[in-house]
């Protein structure tokens, strides 16, 4: 899995030049969609979940199979399973039932989906993606559908329908952009989530989601990094920080009685450039003398359960509160991640709360009460840092980031499930001198997905990722040409992996950064030596000593170090 974190150049080289790649027709074919069977094209679907991962999680029908197989080896009574599962979910989720009933097919959502824009495949219009399920719903659960059949838009559930579901529910990144525009707030992500849950009942999932889920369940994080490996990694970052700043910092691990439990997505300590952001957190906490701890058990804030089923969200998320309780911390702070924050903000308290053993979060440095997190007791690092800057608690040298001309990518989940728009912008503006937003309609609540969220960020799916990433890439390209932007900031671990090939392809020359990497580069620490390089080991702008590049690591080296503590494939 590790080697596919960044796409190999061979995968990219299979993709034609942009002008050829984007010869996309948005006009649907003559033949109706019900008569167009799904075709699994190379580069546009993800490999299925491996049996061993399904077994670890006690999930149904573990077996080896491939989407291109004729026979998907479904359980004998698969129709009944789906029917029951469908019914069950209609009864449990008002959203699902309602969204099955009230769509008027106005088409307002159609060209809002990055996958439709980038692929032209009509079944990637959110409305049609939902109709894939709705047609079966009408057939099995509504009077009109039972009486009028196809005229009412009903169709029978067949294996081909299941294949279509698999293809298109894994061509939706659950980004919720469509739901912003729908006059009834129909959220196709919600429908995709239900669709995926139904598929899992038959043992149909993708490995890029199931492997992280299985790893996370057992070792606490998606990458399967075991406790000693986790420690090594953080120590290794401490070495690097020492190289850059001359300061040795501690790595508090599983420390009982600490004030704050700090939780990040594992991408932050696994691959560049997330690693620099991870160092950024460590430097910030050290500088402020915050009493915090990492946990090896809760070593993952991300939650690929979100891309699997509601039950799986809960199973993986449970460790956050139990660990906070075990360690006796007062509250929880969370790092830069996207889907992690959808879970923390919209699901955690309901699923695994109440967190009545914790205290309402208060910043130990500024005394600010985070009233907006008083029940869940978990604060977003961007809220935390914005508050610090606002209270002048950080000494910052913006000049150190003067080589960066920055734009900011709002990740889908923090944007449309939290509404955290100003905090990151406030922090960015206060740590660098050159910041330019991308155009309206591509940022904030209307932000475009990176094309690789919801478990789709895998290499075999690169064709579709780059298509889905096109609207984002196009907007980056725009500010690159207009303002000379060379850095795309984001606060999401998935983004920090998927935006790299996206920029390489759509806006070459733009690199990706986390926000706390920029914070840490600008941060003037007590007792630091004169800094000549940034966290990437590159010379700082205006630095006299340009030759002192000591510890330039590439991600493969980091990867090797991690081998010590990671599960073998």
């Amino acid at each position: 899995m590790s080697s596919s974190e960044l796409p190999s150049s061979s995968e990219l080289s299979n993709i034609p030049e942009p002008d050829e790649f984007m010869r996309v027709v948005h006009k649907p074919p003559r033949k109706g969609w019900m008569d167009t069977p799904v075709e699994f094209k190379r580069g546009t679907y993800c490999f299925p979940g491996k049996a061993k991962n399904l077994k670890i999680l006690d999930m149904p029908n573990p077996r080896e199979w491939s989407p291109t197989d004729e026979d998907w080896k479904l359980p004998e009574n698969w129709k009944e399973i789906i029917r029951e599962g469908f019914k069950d979910r209609l009864e449990k989720y008002r959203s699902f039932k309602l969204f099955m009933d009230i769509c008027v097919r106005c088409g307002a959502c159609a060209d809002k989906c990055h996958f439709f824009i980038g692929s032209g495949d009509p079944k990637n219009m959110p409305v049609l993606r939902a109709e894939l399920l709705r047609s079966v719903y009408r057939n099995d659960f509504t009077t009109a559908g039972k009486l009028l059949g196809r005229l009412a838009g009903a169709r029978e559930l067949t294996e081909d329908v299941i294949k279509e579901w698999f293809y298109y529910f894994y061509q939706c990144t659950e980004c919720r952009r469509c739901s912003v525009f729908c006059p009834y707030g129909i959220d196709t992500a919600e429908i995709t989530m239900m669709g995926r849950e139904l598929l899992h009942l038959l043992g149909l999932g993708i490995n890029w989601a199931m492997e992280p889920v299985a790893n996370c369940f057992r070792t606490g994080n998606h990458l399967g990094i075991r406790p000693h490996g986790f420690k090594d990694t953080l120590e290794f970052f401490a070495d690097d920080i020492e190289n850059v700043t001359g300061i040795r910092i501690d790595v508090p691990l599983n420390k009982k009685g600490a004030e704050i439990l700090f939780v990040v997505p594992s991408g932050d300590y696994f691959g560049d450039p997330g690693t620099y952001t991870c160092m950024g957190y460590m430097m910030l906490f050290h500088e402020l003398g915050i009493d915090y701890t990492w946990s090896t058990y809760a070593s993952e804030g991300g939650n690929f359960g979100l891309f699997t089923s509601h039950e799986m969200i809960k199973r993986l998320n449970a460790k956050i509160y139990t660990e906070a309780k075990r360690l006796g911390v007062k509250w929880i702070l969370g790092g830069e991640c996207g889907h992690m924050w959808r879970v923390m903000h919209q699901y955690m308290d309901t699923m695994n709360g109440p967190a009545d053993f914790l205290e309402e979060p208060v910043s130990p440095i500024t005394g600010t009460k985070f009233e907006n997190a008083k029940s869940t007791k978990m604060v977003h690092i961007m809220e935390f840092t914005a508050d610090l800057i606002r209270h002048n608690k950080l000494r910052l040298d913006l000049g150190r980031n003067d080589d960066l001309i920055v734009t900011f990518h709002d990740s889908c989940n923090p944007a449309r499930a939290m509404g955290i728009f100003e905090e990151p912008r406030y922090v960015i503006r206060n740590v660098c001198n050159h910041f330019y937003d991308m155009p309206e309609g591509t940022i904030r609540e209307q932000t475009f997905c990176c094309g690789g969220g919801a478990g789709l960020g895998t290499d075999e799916n690169l064709d579709m990722r780059l298509r889905g990433g096109f609207p984002r890439g196009n907007a980056v390209r725009y500010v690159q040409e207009k303002y000379g932007v060379n850095r795309l900031a984001c606060m999401c671990a998935i983004d920090r992996a998927t935006l790299i090939p996206l920029c390489d392809y759509w806006a070459p020359g733009v690199l990706v950064t986390g926000i706390h990497e920029m914070v840490a580069n600008a941060l003037i620490m007590k007792g630091e030596k004169e800094r000549t390089i940034n966290l990437r080991g590159e010379p700082l702008p205006g630095s006299k000593n340009q030759s002192s590049v000591v510890s330039h690591r590439n991600w493969r080296q980091a990867d090797r170090r991690l081998e010590t503590g990671r599960e073998g494939e």
């Binding site: 942009p18 106005c106 838009g153």
Partner: protein, 330 residues
């Protein structure tokens, strides 16, 4: 195919009344029995559909946030697009229901060659939708003068303003015109925008044709066939007071109008037209974004299998100790 079927269905329905009233003299059936039945089905149907939605709980608070959250006091939050309290939710819902806020955001994307994406505004759908729904409401209110005696002043006022241009005798209502124009636009875009045609079902064309039929028959009976409105009122008041009477000599267009309305009423609860009530139930819009402030309860929550810390430590204890990571059990 779906289009022709729907058109055909509405034509047949019209034909059915025509034959029934003209040939079969079934005025009582079409003037009394069917309207009563239709109304009953409408009411029962709508209520039971709403109850069916209401029966399914909202296990999670899944607000779609379209504006800045309320977090730190010095950051301006947007209480309408990302409401943090009930007041905000009410305003958000009101904007949604009365002004179609979300549809107003609509944009249109175009793929240019190099390749590049260009975004443009696309307000026509919003405008037509809004015009259609509002004119429909005005028409409904105006119709109240057939249902009330004496006619409330407000209703009379409404009709007065609506017919203010005094084009023709009797005055042509602006609302009727707006409705027909907007509904025609909604129909034409369904036919001419390829993507919308592709997703359209008979269930999308049928209500459009039905409403066009209702509107046209209304227009015809008012302006061309000059149906005797006093007799119409007599019939309607009879229905309202549960003493149905069927005055003779009301023209066929009225029966067509009434029958198509009845069909619409019957069709309503079984169709997408339920979006009228559905919009109020939409969990992405009608919930406050106060997730971390107030715990939301899932009524069907159940325990799940987790990997406990103890199991975790049991597996990794030796390695943890070796690495100097504190453990619970030595």
């Amino acid at each position: 195919m779906a289009l022709w079927f729907s058109l055909f269905a509405v034509v047949i329905l019209t034909f059915v009344v025509f034959m029934g009233v003209e040939m079969g003299k079934l005025q009582v059936l079409f003037g009394v029995i069917i309207p009563y039945a239709a109304l009953a089905i409408f009411i029962v149907g709508v209520i039971s559909r709403v109850l069916r939605w209401a029966r399914s709980p909202v296990p999670f608070r899944i607000t779609t946030t379209c504006g800045q959250q309320k977090s730190l006091p010095w950051i301006k939050s947007n209480n309408i697009e990302s409401p943090h309290n009930t007041m905000g939710v009410i305003v958000r819902m009101a904007l949604e229901v009365l002004l179609f806020r979300s549809l107003f955001r609509n944009t249109k994307v175009e793929l240019r060659n190099d390749p590049r994406l260009v975004y443009g505004g696309a307000k026509w759908l919003w405008l037509a939708g809004l015009a259609f729904h509002w004119s429909f409401l005005v028409i409904l209110i105006r119709h109240l003068r057939f249902f009330t005696e004496p006619v409330p002043r407000l209703v009379g006022l409404f009709a007065g303003i609506d017919g203010v241009f005094e084009i023709g005798v009797p005055a042509l209502y602006i609302s009727g015109l707006i409705m027909l124009v907007s509904v025609t636009y909604l129909f034409l875009r369904r036919v001419f925008i390829p993507q919308v045609r592709y997703i359209s079902l008979a269930a999308d064309y049928f209500p459009l044709f039905l409403i066009i039929g209702v509107g046209l028959s209304g227009l015809l009976m008012r302006h061309f066939f000059k149906v005797d409105l006093l007799k119409v009122k007599e019939l309607v008041m009879g229905l309202v007071s549960f003493h149905p009477v069927v005055p003779t000599g009301i023209g066929i267009p009225f029966y067509i109008h009434l029958f198509l309305v009845s069909v619409l009423l019957v069709y309503f609860p079984f169709s997408k037209l339920m979006h009228l009530t559905g919009v109020f139930f939409s969990p992405t819009r009608n919930l406050a974004n106060n997730n971390r402030v107030k715990r939301h309860i899932n009524p069907w929550d159940y325990p799940v299998k987790v990997h406990t810390y103890e199991e975790y430590e049991d597996e990794f204890r030796d390695r943890m100790k070796e690495a100097g990571i504190p453990v619970e059990k030595e």
